[in-house]
Symmetry: C2
Subunit: 577 residues, 2 copies
Amino acid sequence: MSQLRIALAQVNPTVGDLAGNSATVVEWTRKGAEQGAHLVVFPEMALTGYPVEDLALRKSFGGASRQAIEGLARDLDAAGLGDVAAFVGYLDLDEVGPRNAVAVLHGGAVVARQFKHHLPNYGVFDERRIFKSGRALEIVRVRGLEIGMVICEDIWQEGGPVSALGQAGVDLVVSPNASPYERAKDDQRLALVARRAAEAGAPLVYVNQVGGQDDLVFDGDSMVVDTGGALLTRAPQFVEHLTVLDLDLPGGAERVDRDTVDEFTVRRVVLSDVPVPAYEPLPAPGIAEPLPDVEEVWSALVTGLRDYARKNGFRSVVLGLSGGIDSAVVAALSADALGADAVHGVSMPSVYSSDHSKSDAADLAERIGLHYQVQEIKPMVATFVEQLGLTGLAEENVQARCRGMTLMGLSNQHGHLVLATGNKTELAVGYSTIYGDAVGGFAPIKDVPKTLVWDLARWRNAEAEKRGEIPPIPESSITKPPSAELRPDQKDSDSLPDYALLDAVLEDYVEGDSGYEDLVAAGFEPPVIDKVLQLVDRAEYKRRQYPPGTKISFKAFGRDRRLPITNAWREGRPATG
Amino acid sequence: MSQLRIALAQVNPTVGDLAGNSATVVEWTRKGAEQGAHLVVFPEMALTGYPVEDLALRKSFGGASRQAIEGLARDLDAAGLGDVAAFVGYLDLDEVGPRNAVAVLHGGAVVARQFKHHLPNYGVFDERRIFKSGRALEIVRVRGLEIGMVICEDIWQEGGPVSALGQAGVDLVVSPNASPYERAKDDQRLALVARRAAEAGAPLVYVNQVGGQDDLVFDGDSMVVDTGGALLTRAPQFVEHLTVLDLDLPGGAERVDRDTVDEFTVRRVVLSDVPVPAYEPLPAPGIAEPLPDVEEVWSALVTGLRDYARKNGFRSVVLGLSGGIDSAVVAALSADALGADAVHGVSMPSVYSSDHSKSDAADLAERIGLHYQVQEIKPMVATFVEQLGLTGLAEENVQARCRGMTLMGLSNQHGHLVLATGNKTELAVGYSTIYGDAVGGFAPIKDVPKTLVWDLARWRNAEAEKRGEIPPIPESSITKPPSAELRPDQKDSDSLPDYALLDAVLEDYVEGDSGYEDLVAAGFEPPVIDKVLQLVDRAEYKRRQYPPGTKISFKAFGRDRRLPITNAWREGRPATG
């Protein structure tokens, strides 16, 4: 048996910030070394951030990333960390093209480069657009142990590099990842990682990034499983975290003496041949439980909003407070993400606003302790309506747009990030006013269905009570019937099905890509199906101009679901005969 | 020698409209048959329209397309057209997955299905996301002649199906396409088609669709070249067109008696074995000259705007008329696309508007004969500025946003499509107000650099003079220095480099993906590079919320250039050492 101390560096890089991310790698490698780690593993593309999208196609950026990884190897050495083997994801650029790569840094140099093999090109991923696939496996010998590398999608697909490593013979597999958060994805990860460890015939070290990047958020959930699939450690979600773990490895993996296995060429690189002398292991690190569903979503939304604001240089946000549930939840999220002092709420009552709208908004502001102001929109609305002779829907929209303009005015004047407070259900059925309530730089709950918005509110209030704090969200914002209040006595239920039903149809149609017959088979009534699908299909143009917001579902609007605006296809009962 | 009469059906389908597109195929097959054609070739995915984007992933749509192609075969037969071999692009769905396919319809049935092999996954294309690749070649024998099929990208890539068809032995190759317009692309097409004909050892029939689909426009430019690469016919651009051509084919292509060639399996299908009895050929159809550059761009923009409006059910458009060149060009385009009576221009002067702004706008309206109204924004602006205490940039933006709200109000009240009038240069450097002048359902010139906007204006005026009509665009809109007129005596040149220089830098940075060193090598001054690149990088969030508009360049903003908003990468001189 050979011992090895491994550090999992679950960090939060920023896309494009080569200098800042390099400094992070040095800092966390030092932390690992201080705890005696022999190797430190960083996430996929930790040097460049992920996803870099079309930046991968810019030669200057690819060249800079390649220079930066060499520089980082020297920096680590200069910092006295050259003995540690650091596994760092980066963008490589060679004569074949850009690569999603992991470098092994040791002794001041890049001693091995592993290229990603399976390039995901579905959902939010466009990796076949921007990367060339790798067909080689680099196996590094560290302290006499053979270590192979596989990158993210390489463990999500059957066959390929993991199986080839198993055949080639390795003592350990490390896997840097940038795997975006989705509800319930963590439940799949452990089983997957365990299966791959068995396939490789070696323990597997899974390291995922944390943090937000535009519409994606990464939850971490880094872990190590042994060859038998047993979980040895698991990191908490949504926080930067260093896990240090001692492994007892049998060593002496049967090394196949071939240059190729399956479709892969194999290259072995020796960093250090002498095993670590026997030492006293550290206490085993913890096994964090994945968060319960609603708390996990809340954490994802807080992380996504915090990082969008922070990484884009905003210190404060402004949002409209209607007294309703959506703006209340966004306000509470904002306070959790940035602190109540960074949150500016604006109540913008119109002639149709109810008394409870105003009092609930004020109550919310007081509960959270955010900055609060009231801006009546009556005078603005009157100017437009009278001058342009607007009636009906045109008049309703002017109210929403005067609110949008007010928020943008305050943003321009004071530098706040404007938050759009629409939820996924509204976005799906087009129940929002473009350039009105859809205004914003970021839309924190755009991927949260209305029914889940209520769950989040209840969970957050209960959490406050548990902590002995004031629940942030007024009870009446949770319990009252939703209304846009753009005309007298308007209720959402006047023009939309009940939200529980609506969300059920949307889950099947949007996330499940169900057709008409599937929906009928699922038990929905044809008139409801017709109504909902028509609303969804007609609102595509609005979604295109909606701000980005944190993805939490399998299929978020945006890069996950790319549909034409001009689209005459309508789901319907197939014509008979 | 064997004779064969071929019809090239350069049609304009609508995405998703299976019934309407089927009717188009029947109608155009009839037109071909009336002229005695033995085969009629339609564009790529003519049945479904192109691109269908993620609709390809919806099983109900794939199933409906497969049903519709079978139904179309029966419809053709029922219409007495079963003798004609119709080559029709459609979406296939089999157990492997969705396919970009061409069906041969004959005698009331689908007699062959060719699947696309090379799936483009760059630029605006996401075909590896949505289609599975084909590895088979279906060769149909029509009147004793062997006819192979290759779809769009299959002729843009070296090797693959064309070369395999050449080895297998064919008398003719037909190629259905949906190849989006880009400036100067037509110059490449002929050379490419000629090269592939040589590779196949047979004449090549190239049929491309026409019309607009969201941000893409297709120019047609269908053609036939003989085995030696000589151009036999070429269809005019941007119009639906039926070309009927008689070919003398040597016939008796050396048929390789193998089931596989290279990586492809080969299947031969016999439709009819007896050659056509000798007949008197029709006069050779014309060889249309591709349009000159500026006229071609104008036609692309008219087509893109016309089809976006028509296919989305809009009969009229509304836009702000500032007296400047951008809105003047968009107004003239709109009149050409939809007729002057469908165009509603609104002059929205503020306190900073010059006299010439108002008179030039009125002059433009009169020249074109569009509907014209003046809406002073002073009262609206004053309400916001005073109530919210706005100054500086916040005040400037309110002016632009009151204009946007005015246009949206008129749109909601009267059903017009709102047009955003920004050009590519503005969009690149963020010289526009989000929710202000960026408001719109469509942005006709969003991919047109400012310098080309002037060229378009001059060309359109000269064209009017040639036709003995009143030039639509006031001379002073072309010659005066551009200004946003959001503060006293403001000129674009106060904050931006000269447009000729700016467009040159942008062409290299945006279209060419040049890095800092490339730009220096191209002769630009570092302070100009720094300034322009910073503006471009910081404006990404605005571009995300901008309306769609017709792509005319190699790299349009949108699907062509996918960059993160949160992005710390800044081009700059590489650090030395």
